[in-house]
């Protein structure tokens, strides 16, 4: 579903954010992408979602060439950024409709898909409200709804549960699992939370200083009775738990 080879991004000014990343994601997997702040998680994800142009390397995403067929890639992926993409003062309904139409759906298709996606995410009836009136968990589920309207085969989530209370996080995990179970969707997500990586993901990729430094199933990485935090500390020299505490995000 994703295959990259030597994918790199050097920003103007010489910062090498991502250095020759080779990764592959199989269809139907939920893959967690972990790393300390500034390790290159978001830059990699923004390249894979066509928002940033790689400075070197190639990639195939959802069956299409990332560089040569960006439009086809966009047609087949959904992307939920870290921040909410909803203007606070216009009802969600109109924005959802716009998003569906921009994905090339007809008005009738948009209506049908919207109803289906909202029901799936337990949001039915809330689409006439303003985002400012929604709870954090509801807003996040709406963000995901925007990315599901065109039934993508591959869903990218950038820190989907950051800032949510434990209940909303668990609820979101259930929704992500059911997307995979019922729709066969492949999910690629970045996270700061080791418990999330452990509980939700089939496979983990750990990135540090722009390079993939470890990968495997959570159980494989934890072999020998270590916790994921021990593994993370060994590999990156940093404790994710401490980083989270420092940035006030909790773990």
């Amino acid at each position: 579903m994703i295959k990259t080879s030597g994918l790199s991004k050097t920003f103007d000014g010489g910062v090498e954010a991502v250095r020759s990343v080779d990764l592959s994601v199989e269809p139907g997997q939920i893959v967690g992408f972990l790393g300390p702040n500034g390790a290159g998680k978001t830059t990699t994800m923004r390249m894979l979602t066509t928002l940033l142009r790689p400075t070197a390397g190639t990639a195939t995403v959802a069956g299409h060439d990332l560089i040569g067929a960006a439009k086809e890639v966009r047609r087949h992926i959904g992307y939920v950024a870290q921040g909410s993409g909803m203007p606070p003062v216009t009802p969600v309904k109109g924005e959802l409709e716009l998003q569906g139409l921009l994905y090339g759906l007809s008005r009738r298709e948009v209506a049908a898909r919207t109803a289906e996606v909202l029901a799936r995410l337990e949001l039915t009836g809330l689409e006439t409200t303003f985002p400012a009136a929604l709870s954090g968990g509801q807003r996040r589920r709406f963000d995901i709804a925007f990315a599901l309207l065109h039934e993508p085969a591959l869903l990218f989530l950038d820190e989907p549960t950051t800032g949510l209370d434990p209940q909303s996080r668990a609820n979101l995990w259930d929704h992500i699992r059911s997307l995979r179970a019922e729709k066969g969707m492949t999910v690629f997500l970045t996270t700061h939370y080791l418990d999330e990586a452990d509980a939700l993901c089939d496979r983990l990729l750990i990135i540090d200083h722009g390079r993939i430094v470890a990968e495997g199933a959570p159980a494989e990485l934890k072999s020998g009775g270590r916790t994921l935090d021990d593994v993370f500390l060994d590999i990156t020299g940093r404790s994710l738990r401490e980083e989270n505490a420092l940035s006030g995000q909790g773990a």
């Binding site: 940033l52 966009r74 950024a81 216009t90 716009l98 090339g104």
Partner: protein
Amino acid sequence: MLRDTWVLFRHGVSVTLQQKVGIAFGVIQPLLFLVLFGPIFATIGTWETLVPGLIVQLGLMSTGMAGFGVVFEKRLGVLERMRVTPASRLALLLGRVLNNVVTLIVQTLLLLAVAFAFGLRAPAPGLAAGFVLIVVLGAGLAALSYAVALSLNEQLFAPVMSTAVVPLVLLSGAFLPMSMAPGWLDAISHISPFRYVLEAMRDLFQGRYATGTVGAGVAVTAVFAVVCLTIGTRVFNREQA
């Protein structure tokens, strides 16, 4: 691309209509000049000279500040949400520009209606031609405004643009024709593209169509719009916009 432009335009119009106050606010300043300054100007000049100036002022303030909206959309991630859809990036620009142009048309009609009540008497062909000029100019300005908004630091956009608009309005000769200015000021004002558009519009409102001034105004408007739309397209196509 046309469909995406249309989709975004329709959406923009519906959002604009929810905030009717915004449309009215854009036209308040030129209306104030019309009502509180126009009668004084009318003692030394004509409404046909003043009103084109107020239309140019309206155009600069209305479409010149268009980029303000996209500053918010960028900060909120709305723009990025649209940039991961297959919609063409040019459509994301043109749909917005079209919405700003329609707002400008409504505002200009409002201004003209009040101006007529005060005594403006311009021939229909001249009015229509002037209208086309301001619409094309407004499209260019809106595109330029978006380009500036996406290129500048977000806190800088509002102060920079609202300050830039003032000399551009004054140097176009919007309130008093530049022919009254001392030589040096008159010379500087030739740098402003809006001066040519304005003078052409004054000729048109007075029923003079085949003049060199009109020709220059049309040429400057066309070149300005093409340049601005090209810049806007470039910026919207740029990866991090």
